[in-house]
């Protein structure tokens, strides 16, 4: 195993020699720099988890070293060791980012304190280093498991999946229909220790009450008329793995009671059965409902909600991750062109304009279906706007009449949406668009061109406005369990899990 590296920056040889020996005996790899400048030089060429720096050193002193480390973004944790301890210098060192501060003389007690501080500082360094590495991996990531997206919103989703997957915590996935909630559930399963176990998905809205109960808990032979054989339910079949309950808020309330009991006791009883069957499962659930409303109207039991939503994960609608639309459209085009044996080189400009201006209320699923249909319908070497535009919009010329600007949207985001919406409503007429929005035709062209050239991709627009569509499913405002939101913090990414379902 690689030994953790510690750099001692001190101009006093009697201290550096002794301290080096102590730390080497403790199992560290130790290097010595006799002044701050030499410490910086060494830190610039090789990584050290911890630096023990004297406050008073020739050339570059301890505080200047800390400042340089910050400015140059050199990753390390610095413990200041000083013989000129004052409250001011301690405060200043901590302000400059020191991990801790130890005063000389290094008595036996202080040496013990230093020995105890180093592993803690190294642990912090290791965690941050891991985050930095994973963050840089995620920077260019376009796919994660079966999910596709490189927008900041999706990177936030990947981050939450990475963090939550290894645990056994229940996760409640929010998101509009077609955003890929099941793919998130599959990714959570694939990245968990249960990945070798079964993944069992059940849509709670698709089945009548009696059948849903039977599907969940199974039945014994003779439990009801026609039950000639015993049948295990989803809980038993998912034993050792993960069960995914889609549209959980649509589940009848009396089944919710049984589900809650099964989750709490980790055991189920088949319909018509008498014995309890122990099950080892992780529960993932999803909903596209307004949860606040579902809870207030008693459609979803509050106690069940708390059980399911140990971690909440919000999957953004496609219109809020405009940067991913182009990536997804191109990917679907390649996939369906290949499946249908068509030699298509891409979308023409008008098709792109329409794709990028439409608000995709059916989200990724709608885009996927639209591209598949367009591939089948197309006759040329490029997809045209008329190929991809839904029939009902072609017939009525219907376009969303309003745009909604959510808090946090930038002026640039809003302007782009306005221009695109007007452009789409004029069937791609630059002059008419310019008249409608009060811009020059050249500016309209530039705006459209910037988007077609990737101007709306990840990194530029982090808060694309929701356009005339449903808002996020509301979450309970108070007393919610641990809420994990997509954040901009460094995140972990790893190899894609094995894909069983279709890629979205």
């Amino acid at each position: 195993m690689k030994r953790p590296k510690v750099l001692i920056a001190d101009d006093d040889r009697s201290i550096t020699e002794g301290l080096s020996a102590i730390l080497r005996d403790e199992g560290y790899e130790v290097a010595v720099a006799i002044d701050g400048q030499k410490a910086l030089d060494q830190l610039g060429t090789e990584p050290f988890g911890v630096v023990l720096a004297d406050l008073k050193m020739p050339k570059v002193d301890g505080l200047a070293l800390l400042k340089e480390l910050q400015q140059r973004a050199i990753p390390t944790e610095c413990i200041i060791v000083t013989g000129q301890a004052t409250v001011d210098s301690a405060v200043q060192a901590m302000r400059e980012g020191a991990y801790d501060y130890v005063e000389k003389p290094l008595t036996a007690d202080k040496l013990n304190r230093l020995k105890a501080l180093i592993p803690k500082a190294l642990e912090k360094f290791t965690v941050q280093q891991k985050n930095r590495e994973l963050s840089s991996k995620l920077e260019g990531l376009t796919h994660y498991g079966e999910l596709t997206g490189q927008s900041e919103e999706m990177r936030g989703v990947y981050q939450i999946i990475e963090a939550v997957a290894p645990s056994n915590a229940s996760v409640l996935i929010f998101g509009e229909s077609g955003t890929g909630k099941e793919l998130v559930a599959r990714a959570l399963h694939a990245k968990s220790e249960r990945a070798k176990g079964p993944f069992f998905a059940l849509n709670c809205a698709a089945l009548p009450k009696d059948i849903l109960e039977n599907e969940l808990f199974g039945h014994e032979k003779g439990a009801f008329t026609g039950s000639v054989n015993e049948k295990p339910g989803a809980f038993e079949m998912a034993d050792g793995g993960t069960i995914f309950l889609d549209e959980v808020a649509e589940m009848p309330t009396d089944i919710q009671v049984k589900l809650l009991r099964a989750i709490e006791s980790r055991s189920i009883r088949r319909l018509g059965g008498k014995k309890e069957i122990d099950v080892d499962i992780r529960i993932l659930a999803a909903t596209n409902r307004d949860l606040q409303k579902a809870l207030s109207e008693n459609d979803l039991r509050e106690d069940l909600y708390y059980r399911l939503a140990v971690v909440e994960l919000f999957l953004p609608p496609l219109r809020e991750r405009l940067g991913d639309v182009k990536l997804l459209a191109n990917e679907f085009l390649v996939r369906y062109a290949e499946q249908n044996g068509k030699a298509l080189s891409g979308f023409d400009d008008a098709a792109w304009e329409w794709i990028l201006s439409y608000n995709w209320p059916g989200n990724v699923r709608e885009l996927k279906n639209a591209v598949e249909r367009a591939v089948i319908m197309s006759r040329g070497d490029k997809i045209k706007a008329s190929d991809i535009m839904p029939r009902h919009l072609q017939r009525t010329g219907e376009f969303a009449a309003a745009i909604t600007v959510p808090p946090g949207a930038t002026l640039a985001d809003t302007r782009r949406q306005l221009v695109l919406r007007a452009f789409a409503s004029t069937n791609g007429d630059y002059a008419r668009t310019a008249t409608i929005v009060g811009m020059s035709a050249a500016d309209v062209r530039a705006e459209i061109a910037s988007l077609l050239n990737g101007g709306g991709r990840a990194g530029e627009s982090t808060s694309a406005p929701a356009v005339n569509g449903a808002q996020h499913p509301a979450k309970p405002a108070d007393a919610a369990p641990a809420v994990a939101k997509a954040s901009k913090a460094p995140v972990k990414a790893s190899a894609s899990p094995k894909s069983k379902g279709k890629k979205r």
């Binding site: 101009d11 006093d12 020699e17 002794g18 102590i22 013989g83 000389k104 040496l111």
Partner: protein, 133 residues
């Protein structure tokens, strides 16, 4: 000069402490290693430095107290930053006081200049003291 002396004293004591700790812990583990005596030697040298610093400090304090009492040391002025100080030393005690000042100055990185009756002490930049290495 006292602040600098304090710093040097803490460094020397740290040198003693860390090197003694190496000797102690290695003996305790029963793995003294070939270089154990070098750590003991370093600790011994640092004890010498700390002792000398302590002795110089006490001698200087004593000289200054006596000189202030009998009027040999008549005025003291310094700059705001505390990096320079000017003393006026008269009489028979001048040589003794100067000798004590020079001993401590030499150990703490302070330059001593004599101009007539005036003695000017200048704190040198960090790392110029003689107690290290």
């Amino acid at each position: 000069m006292l602040r600098r002396a304090g710093h040097e004293m803490r460094n020397a004591l740290s040198g003693v402490s860390v090197n003694v700790e190496v000797v102690r812990s290695r003996l305790e583990r029963g793995k003294p290693g070939d270089d154990l005596t070098s750590f003991a030697e370093r600790a011994r040298l640092q004890v010498g430095v700390a002792t000398m610093l302590g002795d110089c400090l006490l001698s200087l304090i004593n000289s200054v107290l006596v000189a202030v009492a009998d009027g040999s040391l008549q005025s003291v002025s310094g700059n705001g930053a505390g990096s320079q100080m000017e003393l006026m030393i008269y009489g028979d005690r001048r040589d003794n006081i100067l000798a004590d000042i020079r001993r401590l100055a030499n150990l703490t990185g302070v330059a001593v200049e004599e101009r007539d009756q005036r003695v000017i002490l200048k704190v040198l930049p960090e790392g110029k003291s003689h107690s290290k290495d």
